[in-house]
Subunit: 271 residues, 2 copies
């Protein structure tokens, strides 16, 4: 048993889709979430800048003595996971391998699509993981750089023409390739499941990065006998690097529940 919290971070608030899943799976765990809202988005930045920011995000979470850190950000996971793991001294989980394992287990025709930010796709991390885990799979990757700004502006529901048009721009090549499984390599994308399904068809399985990372987190804690006492009710504390008051509008969307606790603002450049 280990009462220390689980640390979770993202460039912004998309990583709350992982927190939602963790809270459902592991209600006794305490969670510290950090969203780097003063520097979001990471998805178009260079690898060096992403690594610099991610190290500060890790250092902030480390100040809470977490037993594990979940990188609930596809861009950081695909560009910096091994460096952050080597530096951490505690288990660090990214979204890439859990997503790829799940996609590999779901596909029947071995044609898998991947959508993510530009930095994630150009890192090659997802393709590399597929080559290791499912070498027979054909992988079709597509960067979708407008999905994050559109979701953050509230354009994510079916019937919203802007997000539908963006989906119609990005996804037809994956549809034409005949993929039967689509990995959502960014924690913002689960909100787009319905819109993506309209283009890809209901028979294409979607893999949720936040949910898969949460399952991986549970498996690692169980294997290390490091779950919290099942008797207690866990809390979730939220920190952001820009104004805390701006947190709630989006947070409720990603968490799928009204956010009761306030976020607290910290200066991430001090870490």
């Amino acid at each position: 048993m280990d009462r220390r919290p689980i640390g979770v971070f993202d460039s912004g608030l998309g990583g709350l889709t992982a927190v939602r899943q963790l809270r459902a799976q592991l209600p006794s765990e305490n969670i510290i979430y950090f969203g780097d809202t003063s520097r979001v988005p990471y998805g178009n930045r260079s690898r060096d800048t992403i690594l610099k920011y991610a190290r500060q995000d890790m250092a902030f979470l480390r100040s809470f003595d977490p037993k594990i850190v979940v990188i609930a950000c596809g861009t950081v996971s695909s560009n910096c996971l091994s460096v952050l793991q080597a530096e951490a001294g505690i288990p660090v989980i990214g979204v890439v391998e859990p997503v790829v394992r799940r996609a590999a287990s779901l596909t029947k025709n071995r044609k898998v699509g991947l959508i993510a930010t530009r930095a994630s796709v150009s890192s090659g991390a997802y393709e590399g993981a597929f080559r290791r885990i499912a070498p027979a799979a054909e992988v079709y990757s597509q960067a979708c750089p407008l999905f994050v700004p559109l979701v953050e502006e509230g354009h994510f529901r079916a019937g919203d023409r802007l997000i539908e048009l963006a989906a119609e721009e990005y996804l037809p090549a994956l549809k034409a390739a005949g993929v039967d499984t689509l990995a959502l390599g960014c924690t913002h994308y689960p909100l787009l499941a319905e819109v993506i399904g309209q283009v890809m068809g209901a028979d294409v399985a979607l893999v949720d990065a936040g949910a898969e990372a949460a399952k991986e987190c549970q498996a690692v804690l169980e294997a290390r006998d490091a779950l919290a006492d099942a008797g207690q009710e866990g809390f979730a504390d939220y920190y952001t690097s820009d104004r805390a008051a701006d947190f709630q509008r989006l947070a409720s969307l990603f968490l799928g529940e009204d956010v009761m606790s306030q976020a607290r603002q910290i200066d991430i450049t001090q870490y």
Copy 2:
């Protein structure tokens, strides 16, 4: 005569529309441009975060001993101009007053529209400037938070359905209000002139923030007898806070010419 350079900064690369105008008007001037590409966009951040970033941008430019600084960013101009001016000790020009003066001189029916980022609109700076400069004008403001990400992703040309759809979402209320002049309060927006004109009609005059700031810069330098020697040919040096190699793709768009000189990357958090 003053051979010191003109400093220009923006959250990203939109401010190059002001550099383009400065180079055309004042070919003898040396220009130092800084684009904060590792933290772009500013337009959805809080005022405190914008001020913190803008102070660092100013401090970097000050290291070149400029004779004047042009804030070629509507978001910084509308949230922090007076603070930055008070701290600078050299002339500092923003885009708000030049844009408002130009719009006030162009409108015939005294109905003026303003489009800008969310942070610019919510600052109230443009409305405040209209009350001082053109108190009889009716001002209709509209935040257009998706215009910057769309332009930066290359969606700005007439015929591009995504940018046309965004324009059709943001602009009809201004059209219905009967404005005869539309102030473009963000230096990214000149690239959208044709798309905006399709919704607003060719008879609505558009006011370009970068161009107006450049004219204001020339007027201030002339009034202080601080222009460079007309005989020399000026240079423009470009600095960014993220990878310099990413500069050229967008820079050529905003400058309207192929960018020959490379940008150099600096660590803005050191300032």
